[in-house]
């Protein structure tokens, strides 16, 4: 089918991307590199049905980024019902549920994604975060490590695993190594953000080393 083409050609508008980042309250990583407008035009010209789908997805995403959860959910659900094997609508539906405190529903959506794509890094990472929030640290670690198995350089999972081990498991040494890996990754890859006010990585590493030094 023509879905294969979509994997390489769909790009959210920049404004929407920014709005999404603000809403999340977290560091947001773009999923895909946007294709050129020429490629988009070419694809849409080639497949009007795909164009309509993309248009619907974009509309729902716009609602989502505007905090219009109901409209966004309706839009993604419509797409999911007609295209149940697409993970994008499911991921957004899960994020909307999580944002609205519907933890179970959110986890279900992420699990659905895994049935379609077992190595879906973001779904695995999100499941890990939610498990940590629920105090199920072992499961959280497992999800993170599963994401890293899918993509060992997947920076969000590295950082999240480091935080889990640092604060919630007291496994400081392992956490330090991961923070350092995350730090290194941030220096070599666009996937990991560099040192920021939000993430004073150097301070974290320093404090952690201090704690380790003070341990008997």
């Amino acid at each position: 089918m023509h879905w294969i083409k979509l994997q390489i050609g769909i790009k959210p508008p920049i404004a929407l991307m920014l709005a999404g980042m603000l809403l999340s309250g977290c560091t947001i990583w773009p999923l895909n590199q946007p294709d050129s407008p020429a490629d988009q035009a070419l694809d849409q010209a080639l497949d009007p049905e795909t164009a309509a789908l993309q248009s619907a997805f974009d509309a729902a995403l716009a609602h989502m980024q505007a905090g219009q959860w109901q409209a966004a959910e309706t839009g993604f659900l419509a797409i999911h019902q007609t295209h149940p094997k697409l993970t994008g609508p499911l991921l957004n539906l899960g994020l909307i549920a999580r944002a609205n405190g519907q933890t179970d529903q959110a986890q279900d959506r992420f699990q659905q994604i895994l049935t379609l794509q077992p190595a879906h890094r973001h779904a695995l990472n999100l499941l890990g975060v939610m498990a940590r929030e629920q105090g199920d640290f072992a499961k959280a670690e497992a999800w993170y490590r599963q994401a890293l198995a899918a993509d060992p350089q997947f920076a969000p999972a590295i950082r999240n695993l480091a935080i889990l081990l640092d604060l919630y498991q007291g496994r400081k040494t392992e956490a330090l190594a991961l923070y350092l890996q995350y730090q290194t990754l941030g220096q070599t890859s666009e996937q990991a953000p560099a040192e920021s006010a939000e993430v004073p990585l150097k301070d974290w590493i320093f404090d952690l080393k201090t704690q380790l030094e003070q341990q008997p």
Binding site: W3, L6, Q7, I10, K11, P12, L16, M17, G20, M21, L23, S24, G25, C26, T27, I28, W29, P30, L31, N32, L53, Q54, F57, L61, M64, Q65, I79, H83, K85, L86, T87, G88, P89, L91, N92, L95, H122, N125, L126, V129, R132, G135, F137, A155, P156, R159, N160, I163, D166, L167, Y168, Q169, G170, E198, V199, P200, D203, W204, D207, Q211
Partner: protein, 962 residues
């Protein structure tokens, strides 16, 4: 004698035969005249000396076939013509004979002239022809002429001459006989005997001897008789009978000989008498051997004796015959004749014995009877016997029966028959009659009498058999119904001693008795006793638990027309109902009992029992429904018991069971209704107390908590079981609580807490509930009283306290900590700071102690809460200190220094707060991550962000479709 002799030819020529006919003998006809031929009946009885032989039947001389006169005329005409001397002699001889014959013919007219002429001619012939042939005949004829002319001496002399001169003459035997006859007539018996012996001893081949032999023996017998040689006479007479009577049992005798034979019997009888009577008869036949006709001899002799009124002798003769001829067909007749003789002689007292002997000797059980049957002579021998038995058996039996009835003494005199003996004898005789005459018209009557006698003798089986034969072999007989009923009575009597019998026999008797009852009812349905018998049959079937039979029989009673008495019908219905019940046909049993109950008169004492049975029938239906798994139907049936038979003893149980099954069915509304109704109706019922718990359950299950609690309290009051009482009270308290009846719930829990400090878990629950109830009723003092009890309880039982107890204690401690916290919060830091701070710190320490007490109960949730709260307490004090009132009038520098001093005071509190939060947060390392831990993390993000504010990285949205 002459007349008699002359009559012989006539007698001998009489044609035909006649049976001497013993069976025709009739004592009433016995007459000595019968022995005398032609003698008038009224003739005087002869003396012994006058006894003479009967006229003999001698051979008749040849007679002319043409007119005698014509022949004589012819010979007379011929004589002159004959010249030859021989032929002339013959003609002359013939002419004389003819003339003699003519004279004989004319004898009645005393034609003596002719005889004289004949005699003259015969004498002339004899003289003229001394050597002529036929002289023997001339002598013979001459003698005859003499005899006719009455010249006995000449006659005898002529015969003597002929006998002597012509031994070979054909007239010799006759001549001898006539010589004997004349000698006998003249009383010369020895000479006569000699002459008769000559005849008897003559050539056996002689035709003449045959003709005269019987007469010779006869006359020889007479001669001997006259000579008093009776045995020899009898022997000779026997020879005559041998010749005259056939050698068979028919005893047919030619009629011509009848008179002679009868005469023989007579003279033989006389001989026997001279010889001593009965023994001589036996002696005779011992000499001669048995004779077919010997019975005639006995018979005639006995008649002779009877005529002479020698009854004993006659009886002896007859008895002798019966003894020597026990199987003779005449033996029974003679026995009867003996009895007739006795009757005639007036010896009545011996007759019954004789009659009994007759029955014994010739009855159906006798050897005589058996012999007759075996020999195929039943018709010949038994016909007469039966005729007699037909009369004798009833007569004798009835006689014994009457004697038994008249016997007043229990035991008769020695040697006499007792009542029982008479009855036994009567019974045997009745039985014999019945056996002998099974189809006789009198048989039913005698069978009935047989039954009665057996009944009197308490011979029940035999009595029953007799009665039943009357009843069912002769159903048309007027006694049939009575007999059938008598059989039933006999069975009843027999049953009184039945227990002594072996079981198999007893059972068999019972079965027969029942069969008899039913047969009576079936056969004699119109008999007024039939319903009673049917009832008895039903009762028996009932006793045997033959319930199907009982039902069938009782239905017959119910349907009986005309209807039996009400009591009978009710008895029948009662049995029927019992059997229906026993067969588990409970609905039918119910209807039967109801019918019975409806027909019962008001106030009948049986009403209660019937009601009880009715109730049982319905109750069983309920049980049947239960067995089929249909509890709802069972409940309906149980409840129906009370409706149909409210007075039944089972009614209470039924309602009780209904209640129980309603409980099982969780039909709470109906269960409550039934139980409460039961309580009112049956306050004394044994299940009363158990229903309290069930009612409590029903109330509880239907959400009627207070009512359920009330019932539980009732149970608490009712039960004496120390094991159950605490649980019940606790249950009641809980139900009150659930029913929001706080006051009663508190009372119950408090009662419990005061009564039962152990087991501690239940006690802990009670005091926990008390604290909760006081919280609901807004009584904080009492609430805290019981909360404190909860803490104390756990502290005192640290090792045994369970999780709930520790939770409750921790909860209580947390409440007390909050109280302390509230007190802490209420203290403001005002000037002078030293004093207020001191108070505040004291309040804080008190609060911290309260939280530390909470931690001691080792409930994680309360430990993390306490940790968080203690941390927040320090943080709060630090903040309060920094926000405390500043002294007035401070310069800026003083104020700055004052605040620095405050910070120095406050920092340790913040450090303490961080330390406590971190301690709380680190609980997550061991997996504890509750709200208080989370809140500690949150506090740490604020108090120590460099270490704890570490946000996780997640995607905010996906802009990719896939």
């Amino acid at each position: 004698m002459k007349a008699a002799l002359l009559s012989l030819p006539l007698l001998l020529t009489l044609a035909g035969c006649q049976t001497l006919g013993l069976s025709t003998l009739d004592l009433s006809t016995l007459n000595p005249a019968n022995w005398w031929a032609d003698a008038p009946v009224e003739a005087p009885r002869p003396t012994l000396a006058s006894l003479q032989p009967a006229a003999l039947d001698l051979p008749e001389p040849p007679t002319a076939s043409v007119s005698l006169a014509q022949v004589i005329d012819s010979y007379q005409a011929l004589l002159p013509l004959v010249t030859d001397a021989t032929r002339q002699q013959a003609v002359q001889h013939r002419l004389a004979d003819l003339q003699f014959m003519q004279a004989e013919d004319q004898m009645a007219g005393t034609v003596q002239g002719h005889l004289s002429e004949a005699i003259t001619n015969y004498q002339a012939l004899l003289r003229q022809h001394p050597d002529a042939a036929g002289r023997d005949q001339m002598y013979y004829q001459l003698g005859k002429a003499y005899e006719l002319s009455g010249n006995r001496a000449a006659h005898l002399a002529t015969l003597d001459a002929l006998a002597q001169a012509y031994p070979q003459s054909p007239y010799w035997i006759e001549t001898q006989f006539r010589r004997g006859d004349i000698r006998f007539s003249e009383g010369q018996y020895a000479a006569a005997l000699q002459a008769f012996d000559a005849v008897i001893n003559a050539d056996p081949a002689s035709h003449e001897k045959t003709a005269f032999l019987a007469n010779a023996y006869y006359m020889k017998g007479w001669s001997l008789f006259k000579l008093s040689d009776y045995p020899a006479a009898l022997d000779s007479f026997t020879q005559v009978l041998d010749l005259l009577l056939p050698q068979d049992q028919q005893l047919q005798v030619a009629e011509k000989n009848q008179t002679l034979v009868e005469d023989l019997f007579r003279v033989m009888g006389l001989s026997f008498s001279y010889l001593g009577g009965a023994d001589s008869l036996q002696a005779l036949f011992e000499r001669t051997g048995p004779k077919a006709y010997d019975v005639l001899v006995y018979d005639r002799y006995s008649q002779l004796l009877i005529e002479k009124e020698q009854y004993s002798d006659a009886i002896a003769v007859l008895t002798a015959y019966t003894q020597t001829h026990p199987f003779s067909q005449w033996a029974p007749q003679y026995q009867m004749r003996i009895m007739a003789i006795l009757q005639q002689g007036g010896f009545h007292q011996d007759i019954p014995v004789r009659k009994a002997a007759f029955v014994r000797q010739y009855g159906i059980n006798s050897a005589y009877w058996a012999q007759a049957q075996q020999a195929g002579e039943a018709d010949l021998k038994l016909r007469y016997v039966k005729t007699q038995l037909e009369q004798l058996l009833p007569e004798l039996a009835n006689r014994h029966y009457v004697q038994a009835q008249n016997s007043t003494a229990p035991k008769a005199a020695p040697g006499a028959r007792s009542e029982q003996d008479h009855y036994a004898k009567a019974a045997d005789l009745y039985a014999e009659f019945v056996a002998t005459f099974p189809t006789h018209p009198k048989t039913p009557e005698l069978l009935f009498l047989l039954g009665e006698t057996r009944y009197k003798l308490q011979q029940w089986p035999q009595a029953i058999a007799a009665f039943e034969r009357v009843a069912y072999d002769f159903p048309a007989d007027q006694r049939a119904a009575e007999a059938a009923y008598a059989a039933i009575l006999a069975y009843t009597e027999a049953a009184k001693t039945r227990e002594q019998l072996p079981e198999t026999m007893r059972l068999a008797q019972q079965a027969r008795q029942q069969a008899s009852r039913l047969r009576f009812v079936d056969t004699f349905a119109a008999d007024p006793r039939a319903p009673d018998v049917l009832i008895a049959a039903a009762q028996y079937a009932n006793s045997q638990q033959a319930h199907e039979e009982v039902i069938r029989l009782t239905q017959r009673i119910v349907d009986w027309q005309p209807a039996p008495t009400a009591k009978r019908r009710m008895d029948a219905r009662s049995m029927q109902a019992h059997s229906l019940y026993a067969l588990q046909r409970y609905p039918e049993a119910e209807r039967a009992w109801q019918t019975l109950l409806a027909q019962l008169p008001q106030g009948d004492p049986q009403a209660q029992a019937i009601a009880d049975n009715l109730a049982a029938a319905v109750y069983r239906q309920a049980e049947t429904a239960l067995a089929a798994g249909n509890k709802a139907a069972a409940v309906q049936a149980f409840l129906r018991v009370g409706r149909v038979a409210p007075s039944a003893r089972l009614a209470g149980n039924a309602q009780f069971d209904a209640a129980n099954y309603l409980i099982e069915l969780a039909d709470w509304p109906n269960a409550i209704q039934v139980i409460t109704d039961f309580r009112q109706r049956y306050p004394q019922h044994e299940g009363h107390q158990t229903l309290t718990g069930k009612l409590a359950l029903a109330y509880r299950e239907s959400g009627q908590w207070t009512l359920a609690a009330d019932e539980s309290m009732r149970m608490f009051q009712q039960t004496d079981d120390p094991q159950q009482k605490p649980a019940i009270l606790l249950l009641a308290a809980g139900l009150y609580a659930r029913g929001e009846n706080h006051a009663k719930a508190i009372d119950a829990y408090r009662d419990y807490a005061n009564r039962y400090p152990e087991p501690i878990q239940d006690y802990a629950n009670a005091i926990f509930q008390l604290s909760a109830l006081y919280a609901k009723t807004h009584d904080p003092v009492k609430q805290r009283f019981w909360l404190n009890k909860q803490m104390q309880l756990v502290e005192a039982n640290a090792e045994t306290a369970d999780d709930d107890m520790r939770l409750h204690a921790a909860t209580a401690a947390a409440l007390f900590a909050e109280d302390a916290r509230s007190a802490f919060d209420a203290i403001g830091l005002s000037l002078p700071l030293e004093r207020s701070l001191s108070k505040k710190i004291a309040a804080m320490e008190k609060t911290i102690k309260a939280y530390q007490r909470t931690v001691k109960f080792a409930v994680a949730r309360f430990s993390t809460q306490a940790g968080y709260q203690m941390a927040s307490l320090y943080e709060q004090l630090g903040r309060d200190l920094m926000a405390s009132e500043r002294p007035a009038g401070l310069s800026d520098l003083e104020l700055e220094q004052y605040e620095l001093l405050l910070e120095e005071q406050a920092f340790p509190f913040e450090d303490n707060a961080i330390a406590l939060h971190e301690k709380n947060a680190r609980l997550s390392w061991s997996g504890l991550y509750d709200d208080w831990v989370k809140q500690s993390f949150t506090a740490l993000q604020r108090l120590l962000p460099g270490r704890y504010h570490k946000p996780e990285s997640t995607i905010g949205f996906s802009h990719a479709l896939d």
